[in-house]
């Protein structure tokens, strides 16, 4: 077990700056996701932590010890790859045993550790088989078992579920959470899938354009995104951004009034689609509904508020026709206010 300190890591590929100074502290036993769109630098950061890539500048400390310049094997970590990288010419048993064999562990210890990891991932029936005969999900279990068998201080996972089909992904996600909670290993998990990050993580670091935009618990990041990018990237549908005029430190929405952290000019309201309640028109914000989609569990409305595109969610019991105007009231405790110029949000009111 170990904590990880990432200290102002920069990485350039020629003229392209992949990481523009990233700092992050991960506590012992914590599960942190690096979440961001493809090309944002999250995988590069993971590979720098692993030692598969060198950083241009900055420091990585694992368990208080700087690991820059150390070989991957001397960093006390294990890794699970996106395409599993389970060795096809070795049985499942030898795959799981690989790290221990490299450490020259004796056969008794290898056997004990392999059986323990295989038990945790439910792959005991396949130990004598070759990976070729296994499904994607089973191969991924082998890859995780191989990583856990060496009892690493740090576990790195690079989009481990993205090659699985949707149903299996959901199943493996739940199982990963159980297994990793049991193992208690410090984990860094790279993903572009916000539901995965939300479901698995103790904390999420949202990476965008070579920088970390926000670090927080899933609920914090969801409810109070630090920037417009975070709000737009997390949540389905994404957060709505509605520019509104400010007069005397107040924003008026129909009969509702909100004190905002600006005196005049304009401010951007960050509105989660499911935080609104239906009301008669004129009570709060009115929405011109272009399309109403009954999703079974809820009703999804797409249209515009104050002439700006918006998506909101109402209970499935509501009925709305295409083209109808509906009134919505806002919950003052669940609003985010952002600066229209910088796109950065104001701190949440206490």
């Amino acid at each position: 077990m170990a904590n990880i300190v990432i200290d102002n890591i920069k990485k350039s590929f020629g003229a392209f700056q992949a990481l523009k100074g990233v700092s992050l502290t991960i506590n012992d036993g914590e599960f942190v996701s690096l979440l961001g769109p493809s090309g944002c630098g999250k995988t590069t950061l993971l590979r720098i932590i692993a030692g598969l890539e060198t950083s241009t500048s900055g420091d990585v400390r694992i368990g208080e010890k700087s690991v820059i310049g150390l070989l991957p094997k001397d960093r006390g970590l294990a890794m699970v790859f996106q395409n599993y990288a389970v060795f096809p010419h070795m049985t499942v048993y030898e795959n799981v045993a690989f790290g221990l064999r490299m450490q020259k562990a004796d056969d008794a210890r290898v056997k004990k550790q392999v059986e323990k990891a295989a038990g945790l991932l439910h792959i005991e029936p396949y130990l004598d088989r070759y990976p070729n005969k296994l499904s994607g999900g089973q191969r991924q279990r082998v890859a995780v078992a191989r990583a856990l068998a060496v009892e690493p201080g740090v576990l790195l996972m690079d989009e481990p579920l993205s090659n699985l089909d949707a149903l299996l992904r959901l199943e493996m996600r739940t199982e990963l959470k159980t297994v990793l909670q049991e193992a208690g290993t410090t984990t860094i998990y790279v993903t572009h899938d916000q539901t995965e990050a939300m479901g698995l993580s103790d904390r999420i670091a949202v990476v965008h354009d070579g920088r970390i935009e926000q670090v927080g618990t899933p609920v914090e990041v969801y409810n109070h995104p630090a920037t417009r990018f975070v709000g737009g990237f997390i949540g389905n549908p994404p957060m709505n951004f509605i520019t509104m005029p400010v007069t005397g430190g107040q924003v008026t929405a129909g009969a509702q009034q909100f004190a905002v952290p600006a005196q005049g000019g304009e401010i951007v309201l960050g509105l989660r689609g499911e935080t609104v309640e239906r009301a008669p028109t004129g009570q709060g914000l009115d929405m011109q509904v272009r399309v109403a989609e009954p999703m079974g569990s809820h009703l999804l409305l797409t249209g515009s508020i104050l002439g700006q595109p918006a998506r909101v969610i109402l209970p499935a019991t509501e009925t709305v026709k295409n083209g109808e105007t509906v009134g919505l009231t806002l919950d003052p405790k669940r609003l985010t206010w952002l600066s229209p110029e910088s796109g950065v949000s104001y701190p949440a009111a206490a």
Binding site: A50, K73, L77, F81, Q82, A85, F87, P88, Y130
Partner: protein, 283 residues
């Protein structure tokens, strides 16, 4: 419509089958018959003439020695070259292109290139003389210098025939995803262990093809040997050529041809067995 057209594939394949049948199977049968007959009746006379000939033992020995010397060196060199270019980012294609130049040269021309280096008035002697290492022209390619002659032929063969092995190996190496090597590295495998425990097993199919192809070609060595050593270094195909052209004895020449085929087939079987490729253990 399409159901009635099942004959089309057969019709399209037919010309190549006829072509191969006429130009391969017929001569093969004829050669086999030629080797084990005498004036139209079955006989082992040609075989007896072949094995009792003065040059037979030497040509078998020379061919095997050359194969044993050349093929392992070529495989090791090809693996080394392939691993080196795999680490390159830029200029990889240029290097590969330069390395494969010998492939574009006929083997007789390759023999002449090395003759111009190794003969008495060749470049090697000029350089050695210029450096003051030798005082007069030295002969490297005569029957009195068998070791130098053998080394000269081996070097020429290695120069000429490594590229084809390398191409097969590079193709094999390209098939191995880099994640396998990275995973091995993360779990503590040294570069040598990664090579022996991950890369080599994963390029088994390429290795098998390269070994079979290169060994069969090595047993058929002729033009380079002929250019450099003439009859000072008898090899199997050289003997077949001599019996055919100098002695005009087609029967004994056929016997040599059959022997070379049997040896090649045996070598192929050995490789298929020794370097087994189990599809279950491939990516």
């Amino acid at each position: 419509m399409t159901q009635n057209r099942s004959w089309i594939p057969y019709a399209l394949i037919l010309p190549s089958v006829v072509f191969l049948g006429l130009l391969f199977v017929v001569p093969l049968v004829q050669t086999l018959w030629l080797a084990v007959s005498d004036n139209g009746t079955p006989s082992l006379a040609n075989m007896t003439t072949m094995v009792t000939d003065l040059n037979f033992g030497r040509s078998v020995l020379n061919t095997f020695l050359l194969t044993l010397a050349v093929v392992p060196i070529q495989i090791v060199m090809a693996l080394t070259m392939g691993s080196m270019v795999a680490k390159m980012n830029g200029g990889r294609e240029t290097i590969l292109w330069i390395w494969t130049i010998p492939l574009g040269i006929s083997d007789l021309a390759a023999g002449m290139v090395w003759l111009s280096i190794l003969q008495n008035t060749g470049y090697l002697n000029s350089v050695l003389f210029g450096l003051g290492i030798i005082e007069r022209q030295t002969a490297w390619l005569t029957y009195q210098t068998p070791v130098a002659l053998f080394i000269g032929i081996a070097i020429a063969e290695i120069w000429r025939g490594t590229a084809i092995v390398m191409i097969i190996i590079v193709a094999g190496l390209n098939q191995v995803p880099k994640e396998f090597k990275e995973a091995a590295e993360i779990f503590g495998a040294s570069p040598w262990t990664r090579f022996t425990r991950i890369t080599l097993p994963l390029i088994r199919p390429a290795l098998q093809s390269a070994l079979i192809l290169r060994t069969v070609l090595a047993f058929e060595v002729f033009a380079v040997v002929y250019a450099l050593g003439g009859r000072n270094f008898p090899v199997l195909v050289g003997e077949a050529y001599n019996w055919q052209n100098q002695n005009q004895n087609y029967g004994v020449a056929a016997a040599y041809a059959v022997l070379i085929m049997v040896i090649s087939l045996a070598a192929t079987l050995v490789y298929l067995k020794a370097v087994k490729v189990d599809p279950e253990r491939l990516p």
